[in-house]
């Protein structure tokens, strides 16, 4: 399985994997609303009735369907005697509302997990990564140009002889190094040299 995975990685690099991941995420976000609309605790009819004569204003909420969402069905107990009901109900405003608690729950949990993952990754990069990389730093020959230093460090990384010089781990390593350099360059442009986004 492993060689096939590497071939797949070779042919379909990160460029086409990431949109696929995004679309998968999108489907995860979109599918809960599709399923969850039917939950009965997520519909309500809200009737707001203003102060009338000596009755204070009231809000009535009831779990009814859209066709029953009117003053007569929802306002219980009716605070005015039978003759005044019509006048009172004319003042009340009833609205049918729907929501999807599953969507809300899923989205908040997705959001918090992404934030948590990013924080963990940042902690890893700041604390753990320098400790892992430290032994390699001394094996590199000192060189003037920082670009060549990175280039040589990658070239000097031990590759397994024969079969694959680009195993999945190596590719991930390389991609991560490249990404870190990119972020560093961006940081220099924005924060240090103030060339952009000032």
């Amino acid at each position: 399985l492993f060689p096939q995975v590497s071939t797949m990685f070779a042919q379909c690099p990160w460029t086409c994997a990431s949109p696929v991941l995004l679309i998968a995420l999108l489907c995860c976000i979109l599918s809960p609303p599709a399923q969850a609309i039917k939950s009965s605790e997520d519909i309500r009819c809200k009737c707001v009735c203003p102060p009338y004569r000596n009755i204070t204003g009231q809000i009535y909420k009831k779990n009814v369907s859209q066709k029953d969402c009117n003053c007569l069905h929802v306002v219980e107990p009716m605070p005015v005697p039978g003759s005044d009901v019509e006048a009172y109900c004319l003042l009340c405003e009833c609205k049918y509302e729907e929501r999807s608690t599953t969507t809300i729950k899923v989205i908040i949990i997705i959001y918090l997990s992404v934030v948590g993952a990013l924080l963990l990754y940042m902690a890893f990069l700041v604390l753990v990564d320098p400790l892992i990389r430290k032994p390699d730093a001394y094996t590199q020959p000192l060189h003037n140009e920082e670009e060549n230093e990175d280039a040589r460090s990658l070239a000097a990384a031990p590759t397994p002889s024969g079969a694959r010089a680009n195993t999945v781990l190596e590719r991930v390593e390389g991609a991560q190094q490249r990404w870190k350099r990119q972020v560093q360059e961006q940081r220099k442009t924005v924060f240090d040299r103030h060339k952009m986004l000032s």
């Binding site: 690099p13 990160w14 460029t15 670009e147 972020v183």
Partner: protein, 805 residues
């Protein structure tokens, strides 16, 4: 000019951000070419580019016919060549159409190619709508998290927590499931200690959110800060900023936007939503070859994505398309109009189905009143327009001054501390006043709301006379004490928002400008509206009111004044015209209010233009020195092309390459010694007759490739750009033909061409450089940077502020 980007070695495949090929180890020191490990160079150099391979030795015929990977791509911080991109797309289309007649598969391919644009728009709309739904729901929840937590499920915000339970008419917010922090910790919500505890928790949460936001931005995607619209405008005009629309920027911008909005800072999310939508567009472009390889087509897609972004921000698809047309895009072909509308509609529909605000509303402050207005009310509307224009000009001046200070002094060295301090000040000042404590969207919603009998907020505490109540249509009433309290609280909120937004916009967190401007305008409008209402109530016998505003009539709608004020302030800052009016009336659903909105928007634009020419986004473009050639302004000076061209009188002569008499060594030394991005090719140095133009990057790639792939190339090999090789004695080394990278149709003007026409040519065709001839002989070159510097010089601005190439 940042030339280093192509020198960085890349041994693995390029990421989606780096569409250009990072030449493995390509550097100006050509002597290094021999001792790099061959395997890595092989892979990094060619096999990774779109999966196509050039493994093994290639024959001379292959070398001549196939374009090299890397030729025709652009470096970072450079301008694209619109003409070349468009002609490449036309060639591609012609080829597909001609091949479609050959086989069924080719026919299907051509149909799918035509259809791919629409599929891409559909995907962009879906993704943008989903992300906007995620942002809305999360921001809503986290904003309420500063005040309390829901016991029925921590993921509910205040409104949803109290959805099921019984609330009273006067206190619609109180329910047993929602506990404020003091109630949770102390057990009760009353008293001074509870208030202080709530205050403390509010400030703590605000600081936590904003610190998290700035750390994430700084750590993962520094390009995610700011609004994004100035940079997107520049990108759409042809500039390349690699990584600005990448996936990390997308993720970080989405996450930190929610954090920044929730922390109570005076910023909005509309501008960053445009950036998010454009990132989605850019990322999804990589699925389709037609858009991945062609920078001009990609910018069409980005225009449509920007429309989708505004559409989900405001729930205004038409307004979004017009915003993209007016503010963001540079070239907007008619085909893009229909596709942008489609993308905007799909995005709005997706957002509606996620239903972030309940009731299938798209925007929190969607209002639906239809009260008529009177012609005499145009006077206060125009007053609001003047206020909007004045505030807009004031805001732009002060914000640019503050940003310039941040850019040049030590203030810019402490971005995290700056965010911390600004958030602390905002939170500490915002909590005591209930109108600043609530989120700005809710404030605008409340201000737009017209008071009816069903409202019980402080702003609607009028003195009710029950005997004269006729149904739902309330007359103008005297203001109760609640209204007076609300008025002075709103005035304080106005002052605070006016000043704090200056320091907030431009910080190193995603920040938008629309909502704070609308808030300022809405507060001012509502204040004026209530004042007018009370004036009409107490003095209904004055001549101006007696005609239309008798006692007991409902003539003045303060909610309308708030809307007009919001439109005026937004127009004053951004100088939007049509798109502003369309967005506002799509927000309200009322065609009756087009005239007041237009009156206010026009007045504010005229007043603001009288004080300062540029809108906020153009001002930021100029501050950052982006090479953006303003398409709307006329060039009105009488200079000629020869005043602007390079070389000037005292400069060394133009660096040219001859068509068949230079060796590889000569060309390499030219490339080493100069930093120009392209060189004209002439017949010979004596005649200086123009053959074409060749780009630096293409030259480097081709020569590199020739060193590796072609046999017999040495330093003294002749490089020729003609069709047939020049006659040489048989003992000379083999020659290098580079005709394929030569642009045979460079644009030329004569030296006496007025600069008006030259600037027009640059704008309309999207050129990067233009050659200047005199009597048919090549004299000099004008680049886009020269044009920008010239315009800046004539406008008495600093020409050295044009930073990029």
């Amino acid at each position: 000019m940042d030339q280093k980007s192509y020198r960085r070695g890349s041994f693995q495949s390029s990421t989606s951000d780096e569409d250009m090929l990072e030449i493995a180890g390509a550097s100006l020191d050509f002597s290094m070419a021999d001792d790099d490990p061959p395997l890595d160079r092989e892979m990094g150099g060619f096999s990774s580019y779109n999966g196509g391979g050039m493994n093994g030795t290639s024959t001379i015929m292959d070398f001549l016919e196939e374009p090299l990977p890397g030729v025709g791509t652009y470096e970072d911080f450079n301008t694209i060549d619109w003409v070349r991109e468009k002609s490449r797309d036309r060639d591609r289309h012609r080829e597909i159409t001609s091949r479609s007649k050959e086989s069924t598969w080719a026919l299907i391919h051509s149909v799918s190619d035509a259809f791919s644009g629409w599929l891409l728009m559909l995907l962009i709309g879906l993704l943008a709508g989903s992300l906007a739904g995620l942002i809305d729901i999360s921001a809503h929840w986290m904003t309420d998290l500063k005040e309390g937590v829901c016991l029925a499920g921590f993921w509910f915000n205040h409104e949803h927590c109290c959805w099921k339970s019984n609330t009273t008419f006067m206190d619609r917010d109180k329910c047993p499931e929602w506990m404020s922090w003091s109630e949770l910790i102390l057990g009760h919500g009353e008293g001074a200690f509870a208030y202080i505890l709530n205050y403390f928790m509010y400030v703590t949460w605000a600081l936590l959110f904003s610190l998290l936001a700035v750390l994430l931005v700084k750590g993962f995607a520094p390009y995610a800060c700011g609004s994004g619209i100035p940079e997107i405008k520049t990108i759409l005009s042809g500039f390349i900023i690699r990584g600005y629309l990448g996936k990390w920027t997308l993720i970080i911008k989405t996450i930190t936007l929610v954090l920044a909005v929730s922390s109570g800072l005076s910023l909005g999310k509309e501008g960053p939503l445009v950036h998010v939508a454009c990132c989605c567009g850019n990322i999804l472009c990589h699925l389709f070859t037609k858009y991945r390889k062609n920078e001009a087509k990609r910018r069409e897609v980005l225009s449509a994505a920007a429309a989708a972004g505004v559409s989900v921000a405001f729930g205004a698809p038409i307004g979004g398309v017009l915003f993209s047309l007016e503010e963001v895009s540079y070239y907007f072909p008619l085909k893009t109009l229909w596709r942008s509308f489609f993308a905007a509609l799909v995005a709005a529909f997706t957002l509606r189905s996620i239903n972030p605000f309940g009731n299938s509303r798209l925007v929190l402050f969607y209002v639906e009143f239809h009260m008529p207005w009177h012609l005499l009310e145009l006077v206060p509307f125009i007053l609001l327009g003047i206020f909007g224009g004045l505030w807009g000009a004031f805001f732009i001046r002060s914000n640019i001054a503050w940003c310039r200070r941040r850019k040049t002094t030590r203030l810019g060295k402490y971005p995290v501390l700056e965010v911390f301090v600004v958030t602390a000040i905002t939170a500490v000042l915002a909590f005591p006043n209930e109108y600043t404590r609530m989120s700005t969207s809710e404030l605008i919603s409340e201000l737009f709301n017209d008071c009816g009998i069903l409202d019980s907020s402080k702003l609607c505490e009028y003195v009710n006379d029950f005997n004269s109540t006729k149904g739902d249509d309330l007359p103008d009433r005297a203001a109760g004490p609640g209204v007076y309290t609300a008025m002075w609280q709103l005035a304080l909120a106005l002052i605070m928002k006016v000043f704090i937004t200056i320091f907030t916009f431009g910080m190193k967190v995603p920040s938008g400008l629309f909502i704070p401007s609308m808030a300022v305008g809405a507060i001012a409008g509502r204040l004026l509206g209530v004042a007018m209402e009370q004036l009409a109530y107490y003095h209904h016998d004055w001549a101006i009111f007696s005609g239309w505003c008798s006692q007991g009539a409902d003539c003045i709608t303060p909610g309308l004044y708030a809307m007009v004020g919001a439109a005026a302030c937004l127009g004053g800052v951004t100088r939007m015209t049509v798109s502003l009016v369309v967005i506002m009336f799509e927000l309200t659903g009322g065609l009756e209010y087009i005239v007041p909105l237009m009156a206010a928007a026009m007045t504010s634009k005229w007043v603001a233009d009288a004080i300062g020419r540029e809108g906020i986004y153009d001002a930021h473009i100029r501050l950052n020195g982006y090479p953006f050639l303003e398409a709307k302004e006329e060039f009105s000076h009488k200079t000629l092309a020869m005043d602007v061209m390079r070389p000037r009188r005292n400069d060394p002569p133009l660096t040219v390459i001859t068509q068949d008499s230079m060796t590889v060594e000569d060309v390499e030394s030219i490339i080493n010694e100069t930093t120009y991005s392209g060189y004209p090719v002439v017949v010979s140095r004596e005649s200086q007759r123009l053959v074409g133009f060749v780009l630096r990057r293409d030259l480097i790639i081709s020569i590199e490739n020739a060193w590796k792939k072609q046999d017999g190339i040495v330093s003294t090999s002749i490089i020729y750009f003609t069709d047939h090789s020049p006659p040489l004695p048989p003992s000379s080394p083999s020659m290098l033909k580079l005709r394929s990278i030569l642009d045979l149709s460079p644009f030329t003007v004569t030296d006496q061409t007025p600069m008006e026409i030259v600037v027009d040519i640059f704008r309309k065709l999207g050129l990067r450089q233009c050659l200047v001839t005199h009597n048919g002989k090549l004299l000099g070159i004008i680049t886009k940077k020269d044009v920008l510097k010239h315009i800046a010089q004539l406008a008495n601005q600093d020409p050295d502020s044009i930073l990029f190439n």
